[in-house]
């Protein structure tokens, strides 16, 4: 305890803030992960099945999805926050606060995740898809029973990557009062030159990142039966 008090003079006085910020980060990350995960997965799968040579080849849908993803990825996050404020208000009733931060976080990370999923699924062996087609599997069955299943190890690895990027992104949520550890590190620690707060916040983030990576690696290894 003495050690902590010595090296983290400011941080020790801010126990509540740390608890709250950790909670906020977890909350934003979790909800965003779920929502952006579903949306990104849907778009990623959509891109894969409608791409030229895909099982539901459709130039129009593919191009629309592709363009939307690129469009969303072109907008710097800070601007995204502002641009979609009306949408945020519509969805969560307010454009500020932790919950409101989730909307731009979703829009900021879903397209990224969609690309990751697309990349992951484009590695699924064409021959296996054909095998499924040959027994009469329809598009839905092929998506759920082949693509998402055969691509799972890679999907997990990509999800880990996205999730860690997402934690990074929540640091920006401070701009609209979202709070969180990143905000604590930047706007309390960094802006106020309280380095120990920055370091303490980063250590907690580090723990989250390591935990996610570890769980992801173990899980991916568990479901990877290719060797």
């Amino acid at each position: 305890m003495n050690f902590i008090a010595k090296y983290f003079p400011n941080a020790v006085t801010m126990k509540d803030e740390f608890v709250q910020a950790t909670g906020e980060t977890l909350y934003m990350t979790f909800i965003t992960a779920v929502v952006a995960g579903i949306i990104g997965m849907a778009i990623g799968v959509g891109l894969i099945v409608t791409q030229p040579g895909g099982i539901l080849e459709n130039r129009v849908v593919y191009n629309i999805l592709d363009k939307i993803v690129n469009l969303c990825r072109s907008i710097p996050f800070v601007i995204l926050l502002a641009v979609i404020a009306p949408l945020t208000r519509l969805i969560v009733g307010t454009a500020i606060g932790t919950t409101a931060a989730i909307v731009p976080l979703v829009i900021g990370s879903a397209p990224f995740y969609a690309r990751q999923i697309q990349n992951a699924l484009s590695e699924v062996d064409r021959g296996v898809i054909e095998a499924a087609e040959s027994v009469g599997s329809g598009p839905i069955a092929i998506i759920f029973r082949v693509y998402l299943r055969e691509g799972l190890p890679d999907i997990i690895r990509s999800s880990v990557l996205t999730l860690i990027s997402l934690i990074d992104l929540t640091a920006m949520a401070g701009a609209i009062g979202g709070g969180g550890l990143g905000n604590l590190a930047i706007n309390v620690g960094y802006s106020r030159f309280e380095n120990d707060v920055t370091i303490a916040a980063m250590l907690i983030i580090l723990v989250l990142v390591f935990a996610i990576q570890l769980i992801g690696d173990l899980w991916a290894r568990k479901v990877d039966h290719t060797a």
């Binding site: 062996d125 021959g127 296996v128 054909e130 095998a131 499924a132 087609e133 040959s134 027994v135 009469g136 599997s137 329809g138 069955a141 029973r145 082949v146 299943r149 055969e150 799972l152 190890p153 479901v223 039966h225 290719t226 060797a227």
Partner: protein
């Protein structure tokens, strides 16, 4: 066996375009498979066999031609109809195409997913199929843990899971040892006999063709160059390619070569002739060699022989040295020909060093 056509390919062309190049893998092929047939398709590596059979269930859309399976115009089917049609066509892929993420049991059970069977029925069926291919022990393993032949057997079991009416088998026994091959062929024959399963069997193993096919088509460079019922093809192959295949399979070519190498030691002269005798069917019932001695005092020494029974018809292929008086030899020769046996005198030239 009814004479109803279950698969009818008409004027099929398949052309691949790859960065400027075009490869015509299948050229103007028409093929009719009747219900209950076990139709063998043989041909050189790269002849277009795999491409052709992929047309049957529209995994490969032909560039031209029509495909009728079970009375349906396959190329005109809507996606949903096609899916239903496909459930009746089992397919064993040359490269197995197993799902790496599923256990062996799940791979085999895959076609049953979303079907009418209860979980227990499905499990039971999978267990039965695994038993048929001898992989019960590996049920919980993943494809990466299997040997080549084991993977192939998984693919076979999977193709049979849906109780298909048609089975398309692309080199389904190419990675299997003779004993396992034999048991798989037995299985197919039984399904054919008992359930009327129609089989299109791509293979390069002529033994497999001999063992279970009733018809054979020979492909070369994208075309079917010869086709017909098994015995005809094997006893009277018309195209050199077909002859080559049959000879290579029965090793008559190799035998001839070896005999030629030893030709000098055979001491061929007026009194000895090296001949190849080929006969089909009843002619074998007559004890030919004894007969030749009885009638003409001609002694025949079999240097190479292959007598086998195809579809209940015996087929003989012998290389013998006949020894006797020159005129008797000629008489014996005549006798053979009259008995419907094809006789060829072999002239060993100086053995070429291959």
């Amino acid at each position: 066996m009814t004479n109803e056509a279950i698969i009818q390919l008409k004027d099929i062309d398949v052309t691949f375009h790859n960065k400027g190049q075009t490869v015509t893998a299948v050229k103007n092929v028409s093929l009719t498979v009747e219900r209950g047939d076990i139709y063998g398709v043989v041909g050189y590596s790269g002849a277009g066999k795999s491409t052709l059979v992929r047309v049957i269930n529209r995994l490969q859309r032909p560039t031209a031609g029509t495909v009728e399976v079970n009375g349906q115009d396959i190329l005109g089917l809507k996606p949903k109809e096609l899916r239903v049609a496909r459930t009746k066509i089992g397919m064993i892929f040359q490269h197995f195409n197993l799902m790496a993420s599923r256990t062996i049991a799940d791979n085999v059970g895959y076609p049953l997913k979303g079907g009418d069977l209860s979980h227990e029925e499905r499990q039971e069926k999978v267990a039965h199929l695994l038993d048929l291919v001898g992989l019960t022990e590996k049920a919980a393993d993943y494809p990466a843990q299997l040997s080549g032949g084991q993977k192939q057997r998984v693919a076979i079991a999977r193709a049979l899971a849906n109780d298909p009416e048609i089975l398309i088998s692309d080199e389904a026994t190419s990675a299997l040892d003779p004993k396992t091959t034999s048991s798989i062929l037995e299985l197919l024959k039984r399904l054919n006999r008992e359930l009327g399963l129609t089989v299109v069997l791509i293979t390069h193993e002529m033994e497999a063709v001999k063992e279970i096919c009733n018809k054979v088509a020979v492909m070369d460079a994208g075309e079917i160059i010869e086709r017909g019922d098994l015995v005809t093809i094997f006893s009277r192959p018309e195209k050199p390619l077909t002859q080559d295949f049959i000879n290579t399979a029965t090793q008559v070519d190799q035998a001839r070569e070896k005999i030629f190498k030893q030709a000098r030691t055979l001491g061929l002269d007026d009194h000895h002739r090296l001949v190849q005798l080929q006969y089909v069917g009843a002619s074998t019932d007559a004890p030919l060699i004894t007969e030749l001695y009885k009638r003409y005092g001609v002694v025949s020494n079999i240097l190479y022989g292959n007598v086998e029974i195809l579809q209940d018809t015996p087929l003989g292929n012998l290389i013998v040295v006949m020894t006797g008086e020159p005129d008797k030899l000629s008489a014996a020769w005549q006798y053979c020909q009259d008995a419907g046996i094809s006789v060829t005198q072999l002239q060993p030239t100086d053995p070429e060093v291959a």
